[in-house]
């Protein structure tokens, strides 16, 4: 908002100074801040004011540049981890399939978001998709609950879906992400929430400029059995002989829990990468905007300076010619 007002002021001073400097005061009702700083009777904006503006914009530019570099280095660190964890959930999908269209009674939407802001639109897209899933899966027999990871989604979802929220977890990235931490988290979720299907919403990291919101579905063992009977990918599950000393049901249960924690681990890492990437591009465009603004302010400053010099010269010369003539 302040930046837009500044832009308007910069443009307004150009026509004001050249033809009729006397109308300067009357034609600036929308620039209250600058009016306050100029004493009445001054016919142009003082160079001091413009210089202050330039200093503050330059500081902002430096800060956003630094933030971009910090985000870039954090991204490098976490990107290798995310790529290594990608191989882990693929065998699960190969064995059990990913069925987003499974029709179940109790859906749980796990929304993964960031804790800090200034990262572009990724959190809003995650929340939009979660809300969409909620709408899609609410009806006479079905219900949807939320599990929220991260401050930003919490802020947005607490406003209108407070009664549907089961669990909120924040400050995930206080310590560097590792599998043990995430598996404990997954354990907590599985213990406290009844579910038939878990839908994890996160931003998948494709490249530094592209983050795609994705939904991964993990089904509970009973639903897996049900879908296996109806054939398709899961129908092949029965062709596997099961080893391990326990009943098939128990093994499927263990498998589902392991699958959930692996998929969560990957989702959390990918979302962290997307967050850093989005922050990089947001800070980059912010520094570029600050640079443009600085250029415009420099032009204004030079015009102001030259106008004041011209006015002084005119006064001196007309005074001298009046004395002579």
């Amino acid at each position: 908002m302040a930046m837009a007002a500044l832009r308007r002021e910069g443009r307004r001073f150009a026509p004001m100074i050249s033809p009729r400097p006397i109308t300067a005061l009357r034609s600036s009702p929308l620039a209250p801040s600058l009016e306050d700083e100029c004493p009445i009777g001054v016919r142009y904006i003082s160079t001091q004011v413009v210089r202050n503006r330039m200093k503050s914009v330059k500081n902002i530019q430096k800060i956003t540049k630094a933030m971009k570099m910090v985000a870039a280095s954090k991204l490098r660190a976490i990107q290798t981890k995310a790529e290594n964890s990608r191989g882990l959930w693929q065998p699960f999908t190969a064995l059990l399939g990913d069925l987003p269209s499974a029709n179940v009674k109790k859906n749980v939407v796990v929304t993964i978001s960031s804790d800090k802001g200034l990262c572009g639109g990724i959190n809003s897209t995650s929340v939009k998709i979660s809300k969409g899933l909620h709408k899609l899966n609410s009806g006479p027999e079905k219900e949807t609950k939320y599990v929220i990871l991260g401050e930003k989604a919490k802020a947005q979802l607490v406003r209108d879906s407070k009664k549907d929220i089961e669990l909120i977890i924040t400050e995930l990235q206080k310590n560097p992400l590792n599998y043990t931490q995430v598996s404990v988290l997954a354990d907590e979720i599985l213990k406290n929430v009844e579910y038939d299907a878990l839908r994890i919403v996160f931003n998948k990291f494709h490249s530094v400029v592209s983050f795609v919101p994705t939904v991964s579905t993990v089904l509970s063992p009973e639903i897996v059995e049900r879908e296996a009977e109806s054939g398709g990918k899961l129908g092949d599950l029965d062709s596997y002989e099961v080893e391990g000393g326990e009943t098939k049901g128990e093994i499927l249960q263990n498998l589902a829990e392991f699958q959930f924690s692996c998929v969560m681990f990957n989702a959390v890492l990918e979302n962290a990468c997307s967050e850093q990437g989005a922050r990089m591009s947001a800070m980059d465009s912010s520094s570029r905007n600050a640079g443009d603004m600085l250029d415009r302010l420099t032009l204004t400053y030079n015009r102001t300076r030259q106008a004041s010099i011209t006015t002084e010269l005119i006064e001196i010369i007309s005074g001298a010619s009046a004395l002579e003539g």
Binding site: K81, L88, A94, Y179, E241, E243, G244, G245, I251, N254
Partner: protein
């Protein structure tokens, strides 16, 4: 017929190439897998995985997980794994002693269970080093 083995942990891919035979310890017993094995989904306990490549045996310590054997492709997903050659003998023996001491000191159900788990992991790592030599 070539058998392809893939060992994955959450942090990295530990092994992804062809082998001749493996010996896997599941929760109930040890199974040996050659090429053209029947499809199996198995749970793996904390134990040793032996890999044979052309008359040479390698050991790996696995910390529990799942295995899927299907169509000459073996996929093993575990919480953590270490190659026998990567484990430092000194450090592994020390870890074993610390784990045994902790077990003796443990009070209460939860600490005993954790100490037992740590002990089994330490023992597996020591076994993995001994098995190659």
């Amino acid at each position: 017929m070539t058998l392809n083995l893939c060992v994955l942990t959450p942090n990295r891919i530990l092994w992804d190439s062809e082998v001749k035979e493996i010996i896997l310890s599941t929760n109930s017993r040890k199974i040996g897998v050659f090429s053209n094995h029947a499809p199996i989904a198995a749970t793996i306990d904390i134990g040793i995985l032996r890999i044979r490549l052309n008359d040479q045996w390698l050991t790996m310590a696995l910390m529990g997980g799942f295995a899927k054997i299907d169509n000459n492709e073996i996929t093993i997903l575990v919480n953590d794994a270490e190659k026998g050659s990567d484990i430092d003998p000194q450090e592994a023996h020390q870890a074993l002693e610390i784990a045994e001491a902790n077990l003796r000191k443990a009070e209460g159900k939860r600490q005993t269970i954790e100490a037992n788990l740590a002990l089994r992991q330490a023992r597996t790592r020591v076994e993995a080093i001994n098995a190659i030599s």
